[in-house]
Each structure stands twice: as C-alpha cells, then as structure tokens.
C-alpha cells in the first residue's frame, strides 16, 4: 500500500499535532463545562431541588462529552505512542486520581437520585464536586509541568524511566497553571449553568462565574509573565521532519525562552489574544446576562488558552528536564507514516458525522431546566 504517501510524513505529523489539540480543546469545551458545573454545584445550588436542576443541565450530555477525554487518550496512544507511554506512566499517581474522578463521576450522575436518603444524595453530590474540580486542577498542573520539562530519560530500547515523584509535580508554577485551569473551567461551567437555568441558580452562577473568570484571566497573565523568566527548550541541530520516530536521534538543549517562539512565528500571538478576549467577553456576558453568546465567548477563551500552550511549545510535545535529548517532539515521536495516514482518513470521515449528531442531540435538548420540571418529572430525570 503506497496510498499513504499521498501526504508526506512531516505534514501528517503537523496535522496530527493539530488534531491532538482539537481533541484536547474539544474535551475542554464540552466536558469542561461538566467539570465546571460539578465544581460549582455546592455554590450555586442550596437544596435538593436546586441541585437536581444543576445536575440535570448536564445529565443527558456528560456521557458524550466524556468521550472526548477517552478519545483523547486513544488518539494519543495511536498517533503519539511515546507521549502516551511516558506521560501516563510518569504522572502515575496523578493519573490514578484523574481516573478515580472519571470513574466516580458517571456513577454519581446516574445513581444520585435513585434513592431518597439525604445522606446518600449528599455523598454523591460531593463526588460530583470532587469529580469535576480535581481533574480540572490536575490537567492544569500537568500542563505546567510539561512547560517546565518532565524528569524522564530513554534508554537505547526507548524504555522510559521517570525520575520525579508525585509531590514533585506540585511546584509553584504548575500549581498556578492548575489554578488557572480550574478557574477557567469553572467560568465555563458557570456560562453553561447561566444558559440552562433561570432565577436564583442562574444569578448565583453569574456571580461565582465572574469571580472564577477574573482568577482565570489573572492566572493566565501571570503564567505568561512567569514564562519570560523560565528557560524553554530548543533543538541544538536541525532535524529531518520526516525522519524515523526515535527521540534519541535529535539534539535538544534546555535554555533560552519558550517565548522566543513569538519572535520566530509572530502570528501565534493570535492565540493568547483569543484567550484574553474570549474570557473577557465571557465575563462581560455573565455580567450583562447574555446566554448562548456567553458560552460561545467562553469557548473561544478556552480555544485561545489551550492553543497558545501548544503553539508556544511547537514542535516540542514533552520536553525532558533531566535528559533534554530524550525530549519528545512533533518530528520524532509520532506513529508511522501509514498509521497516521489511516487514522487521518478515519478522522476526516467520522469527526464531521460525530459533530453533526452531537449538534442534533444538543438541539433536541435545547431549553432551560426548571424546578417545575424537576418536581413533576418523577424518575425520568436524575
């Protein structure tokens, strides 16, 4: 089969780097508001009916949204196997906590309202809170650590050894990024609740969402400033963009600044601008009472923030702090030419279909969830 040579290897790698970003952004835009809604649950809902309103705003959609996360994992495995292997095993305990959250959250949605007991419901409410807030924090912490570089090295068999510890992940910079991520997704959750509810719950969501949005913008700005003082990574010799996927073939050094990317590729400034504008407009929407538009602005903010991280680091994906030569980049840690091509064909075919039926489902479910519906629904709602 030579069909895959229609698109050259280097281009395919860039496409898959972009698709990885699309999946992560898709995840943050959809499941992000589920997590944000969970994180806001104790703050915007004060009694059982109110909590059921909030939970039912995401009730019919969280399952589909969570697939963005799972597909993200699957796509990293298929397109960037070393990234999947090194980051998941390196961040072992953090991944375990994320897993725990993603196991408990579905169960909490489904089982919470199946018994009347208030203790039962309260336990699951806390599970929904933790299941939303903790992963939102951890994903940010992980991104912070990736920017700093991760302590792993590869031997000649490309067998990874991770030299850090769980508590090593909790450094000030990573915690700042973690907080930013939590605040951004909380704002996004507030924008969602703002769209799907009315009255008291809606006004509380606007209030807490505004605070979260301010924290997110401040955190994002501060992290950007921090990057001016933090060393980045760069190649010490030019690399072949279509060479074999062996990270050890490239020379990498730790030093300079990530922000040098903005001198090399000035256009990428679009990303942080989108981040700031999106978040600022979402804040304004939460103040003035815009609904669907606020959610869209919030999505734009997320798009800007996440893509700014990727574009700033390009072509690096996972730099190594202890052995820079082991760093993973777009040019040396992808799957083979053929696999990338086949996966691209599948993605081009399936992603539009997925987006179409997802849009249809959201359309069917369009409209607000009210206390009235909850009271008359019996068991058909969560």
């Amino acid at each position: 089969m030579i069909l895959h040579e229609l698109i050259d290897f280097g281009t395919l790698r860039v496409i898959w780097w972009a698709l990885l970003g699309v999946l992560l952004i898709g995840f943050a835009m959809t499941d992000g508001f589920d997590m944000g809604t969970g994180a806001l649950l104790p703050f915007v809902a004060r009694n059982d009916t109110e909590r059921r309103v909030v939970i039912n705003t995401v009730g019919p959609v969280w399952e589909g949204n969570q697939v963005w996360f799972i597909l993200g994992g699957g796509a990293i495995f298929a397109a960037w196997p070393p990234l999947y292997a090194i980051s998941f095993s390196g961040f072992y305990m953090a991944m375990f906590i994320v897993l725990a959250a993603f196991i408990v959250r579905p169960v909490a949605f489904k089982y919470r309202s199946k018994r009347q007991s208030s203790t039962w419901r309260s336990v699951w409410d806390w599970a929904l809170f933790a299941g939303g807030a903790v992963p939102a924090l951890i994903f940010g912490v992980a991104v912070g650590n990736v920017l700093r570089g991760v302590p792993f090295r590869l031997n000649d068999f490309l067998m990874p050894t991770y030299e850090g510890s769980f508590f090593g992940l909790l450094n000030p910079f990573a915690l700042l990024v973690g907080l930013t991520s939590l605040a951004m997704l909380t704002m996004h959750g507030a924008a969602w609740i703002n769209l799907k509810t009315e009255g008291l719950i809606q006004s509380r969501a606007r209030r807490f969402g505004t605070r979260a949005g301010v924290v997110a913008m401040a955190g994002y700005a501060l992290a950007g400033l921090w990057l001016t003082m933090m060393p980045g990574y760069h190649f010490t010799h030019a690399v072949a963009v279509d060479g074999p996927s062996n990270p050890l073939f490239n020379g990498v050094a730790h030093g300079g600044s990530w922000l040098a990317a903005y001198a090399d590729r000035p256009w990428i400034i679009v990303a942080p601008i989108m981040g700031f504008v999106g978040m600022a407009m979402a804040l304004r929407g939460l103040q003035s009472g815009g609904e669907a538009t606020t959610l869209l602005w919030s999505k734009l903010g997320i798009l800007g923030v996440i893509s700014s991280v990727g574009l700033t680091m390009f072509p690096f994906i996972l730099p190594s702090s202890v052995d820079p030569d082991s760093s993973l980049t777009v040019w040396d840690s992808s799957s083979s030419h053929m696999t990338l091509f086949i996966m691209l064909v599948a993605a081009v075919f399936f992603m539009p279909i997925i987006l179409a039926y997802t849009a249809w489902v959201y359309k069917v479910l369009w409209g607000k969830v009210t206390e009235e519906q909850i009271k008359t629904s019996g068991e058909t709602l969560y």
Partner: protein
C-alpha cells in the same frame, strides 16, 4: 516480602479487566433486547412493550454506567502500567482503540442520554432509532477492542522497525480482518447476548414465581429465550472457530487448554476431565474422548496437533534464532544509517524471532551472553500454567452447553406450550442468572492467561512490557481500585435489586388512551369487556 512489579501489574490488569467485563456482556446484549422490545412497541403501538422497553432500559442504564466508568481505566491503564508495551506496539494497537472511540464510544454515549431523557422530546420512530444507535455503538465498541485484542493473540500486518525500536503497521486490512479477531468478536458479542437473555429470563421467571407483572414477564421470556437460544448456538459455533484459529496460530495455548504434554498421533483425543500436573508433565485420572481434539483443532483426521514438549523444543530453536536478530539489532543501533547490508539482511531473516531473545532479559542484561541452561529455561517459560486454562475452558464450555439446554427448554415452552412454565423451570432460571458471568470471566482467563508469557504472542514478553514503577505505587493503586470497585459493586447490586423488586412503572395515561381506542377489539366472545389485562 518481595513484590514483583510485573506480577503486580498483571494482577492489577486482571482485576480491572475482569471487573470491567462484569458489565460489558450485559450491556452488549441488553442494549439489543431493549431495542427489539422498542421495535415491537413502535410496530404494534401496544403500551406494554413501551413499559418493557422502559423497565429493561432502566436496568440497562444502571449497568451501562459502570461499564463506562470502568472502561476509562482500561483505556488509560496501558500507558500507566504498560508503558513499554504502549511504545512498542502503539503504532498498531492504538489505531483500533482510537477508531473505537470515533466509531463506537461517541455513538453510544451521545445517544444513551437521549434514550433516557428523550421520551417526551422525540417522536416514536426517532426514539427507536436512538435505541438502535446505542445498541449498535455498544456492539461496534466490542468489534474494535477485539480487533486490538486479536492482534495481541495473532500479530499480523505489522513488522519490527529497528530504527524506531517498535512494531509498525504494514497492512491495516490484515489487522482488521485478522481471523482471530473476527472469530473472537462474534463469540464475545454472542456471549453477551446469552448473558442478557439469561438475565432477562431469570428476572422474568422470578416475577412469574411471585405472580407479579405476569404480562411483562411472559413477553420478556419469549424475546429472551428466542434471541438467547440463537445466540447460545452461535457462541458454541464461534467458540469452535476460535479453537480452530488457536490450533493454527497459538499452538501453545491450545496444548495448554488440553493439557496435552506430548504430541499424540492424529487425530488427537479430547481430555474430558483430569488433573494436570505441571511438574510431572502429565494429566492424572484423565478421561479421553477419541478423535474429538483432532477434529476441533485441525478439522481433519490426519493433521497432528503438537504437544507442549514439542513446542518447547521449537521455542528453543526460536530463542537461538532470536539471539542472532538481537545481535544484529545491537549493530544497527550503534551504526544507524551506516549499517552494512549483510547485517540488515541477517536481521530481516531472524527478526520474527526477536521476541524470543527478549525472554532472556529476565535472567541477564545481555541475552547474547546466555548459557545453554538459560536458553532452555527461556524456552520453558513459554509454557503457561496449565491448570487454570484446563479448568477454565471446561467450566466455560460446560456452562455454554447448559445455556443451550435452559434457553432451548424455555423457547419450546414459550412457542409450543402456550407460555406455561413449570415452577421448577422458573426456579432453575433464577438460580442460573450468575452462570453466564462465570462463563464470560472464564473465557477471559482462557484467552488472556493462555497468552502468557507474552503480551503480544511471540513478539513481546509480558515481563518486558511494564512501566518503570515501584511496587509501592502499584500496591497503592491496586488497593485503591479494589476498595473503589468493591464499594461500586455493592452500590450497583443494591440498586439493581431495588429496581427489580420495584418492577415496571405503568404509564397510566398512555395505557388508558390506548385502551379507549382499542376497546372494541378487546371485547371477548361473550361481549364482556375484559378489565383485568390492560393493554396487552
């Protein structure tokens, strides 16, 4: 006490996979049964079928969510605990996993919410389509994961690339149309259909024993027994296909299942029962059935099935050949592009056996220094522990035939005896509810334990596949998963029982409306209006 990271990683994988597999078979089957019930509802308009759809749908939902939740662990565990495996085969193994996400997970997860919340928002036909999409999505997911698993059993369509130190895909269609994967898929989904059928049959029988929800129970039994009987027959036929494929591709697994220590003259006999003794390499108190094994394994009367001892000898040959490949690989690693063509040719010639050289890494860092004794030991290591396979297989097959009997009996009574079921049969149907789960878990053990000592048969040893973790980290996560999963299991069983006890909810309004419309047809011959059996 010394804990071994490889053994702990295997334990964690077995625990989480076996647990995940408690929910999967029921999801596969119940999604289809519910969709069949809703189809009948849409075609006939009778409210009882809507009630059945909703009732079995609610049990489906309680089960489905745990399948989703524990499935997340499966998707991420490869990277977390099997980092070298992920690097080594991700190019081939990752693709079906990602396709599973795109083709199956999105479909089932996006529509399952609409299935539960969309009753009032969709037309009847739209809702029916949603129910089928959930069922199709669930079953597609089984297809892709079994294509991935089938490749671990029979790694076709890929070859080792010394520059990237991993397996790379050479032919995608060989990977998809891998005969092992196809047989496994139909065998596994059929087993899921049987599981759900036995579940529906058992719960309905319990209602009949209690005299509750009789109309729902009888109709459910009719659906479950006919769908289940067809599936149970298909499980056995496709199980046989799997056996035949194992005979072709995984001879060691087949020999271990059979506890066939030495090659027998063709056609080999089938050992019905016995006590396999790994040390002495013989099976005590064995009862043989002549010819049967030869027929299952080779579908001929004159092809030999190799015994374990012969396979160990062949493995030793392959270890020695693998060492030549390993030596060439070391040269290629050192010289990269400058490697001479003779070394490359040597590597090509022996690269299929490279995995066998890796078996030696358990004993020394540089396999090339291995002694004859170590090479012999590595060859011995290719023999899995026989008794779990021997017994797991026999329990699975025994249960499989018993399902045919139970479902066949109920099918006969439902079709030809006016849906009258004797009480002993109803009690039996209740008792037999857990049996398909036992059979399914045994099936997993036979397939995956039987693959040992390899993660990918003949390519990558399990011992080499793990992440660089400490035993402490693994103990912590094993403890965490065990605690977590036990609590969830208790919660899930509690809810299942609660909802089964509670029974179906009758939608009064819809039933009354239907009754009014059709009351003229419900009148009996003597002109009375039957009030007792609403909306059948």
């Amino acid at each position: 006490m010394e804990f071994d990271v490889v053994e702990l990683s295997r334990l964690q994988f077995a625990l989480t996979a076996l647990y995940h597999f408690l929910f999967v078979p029921l999801t596969l089957g119940l999604s289809i049964i519910v969709a069949i019930m809703e189809t009948v509802y849409v075609m006939t308009g009778r409210p009882i079928w809507r009630q059945m759809t909703k009732f079995w749908g609610s049990l489906f939902g309680i089960n489905f969510v745990l399948g989703v939740a524990t499935g997340v662990t499966m998707e991420f565990q490869f990277g977390m605990n099997w980092a070298y495996y992920s690097h080594y085969v991700g190019d081939v193994f990752g693709a079906p996993l990602a396709l599973e996400g795109m083709m199956a997970f999105f479909l089932e997860a996006t529509f399952v919410g609409l299935f539960f919340f969309g009753w009032d928002k969709l037309s009847r036909v739209q809702h029916l389509v949603v129910a089928w999409l959930v069922a199709i999505g669930s079953n597609f997911s089984a297809l892709w994961i079994l294509i991935a698993n089938g490749w671990m059993q029979n790694p076709v369509g890929a070859e080792f690339n010394p520059m990237t130190m991993r397996m790379e895909m050479t032919n995608f269609f060989e990977v998809i149309f891998n005969e092992v994967a196809q047989a496994k898929f139909v065998h596994t989904v059929s087993a899921g259909y049987v599981t759900a059928s036995i579940f529906v049959l058992g719960v309905s029988s319990w209602y009949l024993l209690k005299g509750r929800h009789v109309e729902l129970a009888r109709r459910s039994i009719t659906i479950a027994s006919s769908f289940g009987l067809a599936s149970a027959l298909s499980v056995v036929v496709l199980g046989d296909e799997s056996g035949y494929d194992a005979g072709m591709n995984q001879k060691m697994k087949l020999a271990a299942i059979e506890a066939m220590w030495e090659t027998e003259p063709a056609p080999a006999s089938f050992t019905l029962v016995g006590i396999p003794d790994q040390e002495a390499r013989e099976t005590h108190y064995a009862i043989h059935v002549p010819y049967v094994m030869g027929l299952i394994g080779t579908r001929s009367l004159d092809t030999e099935i190799p015994g374990i001892e012969q396979l160990v000898e062949e493995a030793e040959e392959r270890v020695r050949s693998g060492l030549i490949a390993y030596d060439a690989l070391m040269t290629i690693q050192a010289e990269r592009e400058k490697t001479s063509d003779t070394v490359k040719a040597t590597f090509e010639e022996h690269s299929d056996d490279l995995g066998y050289a890796f078996l030696l890494l358990r004993y020394l860092d540089d396999p090339r220094q291995a002694t004859d004794a170590q090479i012999a030991q590595a060859a011995e290591d290719t023999v899995p522990t026989v008794w779990p396979l021997f017994w797991g297989f026999r329990i699975m097959v025994g249960l499989g035939f018993s399902f045919i009997a139970v479902l066949g009996y109920f099918f006969y009574r439902a079709s030809f005896k006016g849906m009258q079921f004797p009480r002993w049969a109803l009690r039996l149907a209740v008792v037999v509810i857990p049996a398909p789960w036992i059979a399914a878990e045994m099936g997993w053990i036979v397939a995956e334990f039987g693959r040992q000592p390899w993660t990918v048969d003949g390519i990558l040893p399990t011992a080499m596949s793990v992440s660089n973790l400490s035993a402490g980290q693994l103990l912590l996560t094993i403890a965490g998963f065990s605690l977590f999963y036990s609590v969830l299991f208790i919660v899930e069983m509690g809810l299942m029982l609660k909802y089964i006890r509670k029974g179906p909810v009758q939608d009064e309004e819809i039933t009354d409306k239907w009754m009014e419309k059709h009351s003229h047809r419900l009148r009996t011959h003597d002109g009375n209006v039957p009030g007792a059996t609403p909306a059948e």
